[in-house]
Amino acid sequence: MVLELAKPRPIWQIMFSTHHTDVGLLYLITSLAFLFLGGTLALAIRAELFLPNIEGTGQIIVDSMTFNRIFTVHGTTLIFLFIIPFASAVGNYFVPIMVRYKDMAYPKLNAIAFWMIPPGGALIWLGFADFTWYAQPPYSIISAPGPAADMWIFGLKILGISSVLGAINFIVTILKCKHPDMSIGQVPLLAWSFLATSLIILVAIPTFAAALLMLLTDRLGVSGFFNPAMGGDPIAYSHLFWFTFHPEVYVLVIPAIGMMYEIIPRFSRKPIYSYNSGVFAFVLLSMVAFSSWAHHMFATGMSFTEKTVFMIGTLAAVPASAMHVFNFVATMWNGRIKFSTPMMWAVGGIALFFAAGAGGVVNSAMPLDFSTHDSYWVVGHFHLFVMGTIAFGSIGYLYYMFPYVTGRMYNETMGKIHFFLSFVGTILVFFTQHVLGLYGMPRRVFDYPPIPEWIAMNQIASVGAMIIGVSMAIFLYNMIYSSGKGKLADTDDPFGLGGKYYYPFESKTPHHTGY
């Protein structure tokens, strides 16, 4: 359904609709709103860390508790309220079209899954908890203040249920509702990415759902699962948490890779190098996703054998990720590449994906992990994934689907400026944070001692963050202005690639290789 502001539909018609594109639009707008909210918190964090506090100078945020709340809500928001709903938006728009079905398999369930997100988000934002997105007991049981922590727990509970409902819907839509003429080996890679992701969600999320309930009853004082004072074990929580949230990393990244699989061949004017290898790598990734969770816990006093097993499980994810990179590069090889805005974001995202993966190998090697663990290295590392890879793929795809959603074109120049500023900013912030970690700066700190290297690195990172902030302001203006007043898109070929802007739009033969 095209959101054409020249012929507006009443807002309630979209809100109460169960049509997949309407629900997709709701997901899209909600996720973008949270992107800007969460991003604002990131700017606050970087502003605070620009200077160490010396006798009252350099302090911007009123106290450390506020700062702790800010980074907690920043992380929770961008993971659960931006990345995941954004992927759902893309899936809602395109998965039914790609499998040639009229809607999602369960349209009402689809709308319900979306409408759980606003209350979940409201609980997290109104509570503003302080115990990091990890909610590690016993801190979260005995030390985290007030109803904020309980609101966070209920918020995540709701968002978890929403994810599971969405996952069921995608699996049934892809496996059961695809066109009878279409084999599973013809389903485009973007839809495959949603299938892989949804299967991971179904296996992974219930574990954390259980852990959340146990955390809540521990907080109420009626149980002691994770409370050492009552005979519990806080490390048990860590295992349950990471059993869900290491695979969740792949839940976040696989759809972004799927989006790149749409963009790269289209703008290279070539078929994908190897569809089979893409499918194989998705399936492989979703299996090895479950073999590596405890690499987050090397410093909790694990035995040598445990560490070895989880190191091997972690390294096993590298070849599958590397296959995607190979596939992208081989697709672009000898292509007639057109660097429109979506292509720039996708290619930039792949470069940063490679950098993030290379840094991850360092983390996984046991002895080196003790140098990087819980330092700013880790912050830089996973932000290269969530920002550099996932947000880059997502924003590229947003530009790509913009003509489809609005019937209009965004401003290409502004899109390119947005990319260049974000790319430079991302490198300034997150590459620098790797170095900062090697200098030993711990993560989640409100303040730091005035060590000259730390100050320099923090200032480079903060400047980078402000550059990203500026680029995002341009992005916001571009999206709003172009939705209403952008020039009308040529719906057959909005990017001037020659050929048709085929199946996202209207094709009857959704073959990836059909260029």
Binding site: S64, M65, N68, D130, F131, Y134, Q136, P138, Y139, I142, S143, P228, A229, D233, P234, I235, P271, Y273, S274, Y275, N276, S277, A299, T300, G301, F304, K307, T308, M311, I312, L315, A316, V318, P319, A322, M323, F326, A330, V361, S364, A365, M366, P367, L368, F370, S371, H373, D374, S375, Y439, G440, P442, R443, R444, V445, F446, D447, Y448, P449, T513
Partner: protein, 143 residues
Amino acid sequence: MSGHSNWPEWIYVAIVIALMAWVGAEAWEAERLVEHIPADAEVIKVTGQQWFWTFEHEDGTKEIGELHVEVGKAYKFEIMSKDVIHSFNIHDYVVLMDAIPGRINTVWFAPTDVGSFDIQCREYCGLIHYNMRGTLYVEEPSA
């Protein structure tokens, strides 16, 4: 699928797997050596609590926020916590181990340079986590 041959990808994947196997083997070997605690290591009990570190030497002397050790000797830290999880960290000597209530974790080191080094908490532990710092003084042996 398509008609082209896929051998470059297989070679590439083989190279990646070989690289990862090499990284894994090197890491395994290094960690095995690092985790071998010398038998004559002196025990120092480290206790983390919101938001400071307490150290207890073998002879019973206690220090708060400061730790004095002798250069060239091996020390084994027995790390515990009184309240929430902390992480005991001397970054310059890559000493990092969580302090977890209800269990004792061990890690060892042997300082090689005289001087003072930062001790910090590397696991989020609340209000003053950022300032849960101490100093390690490595001194010449006192004759």
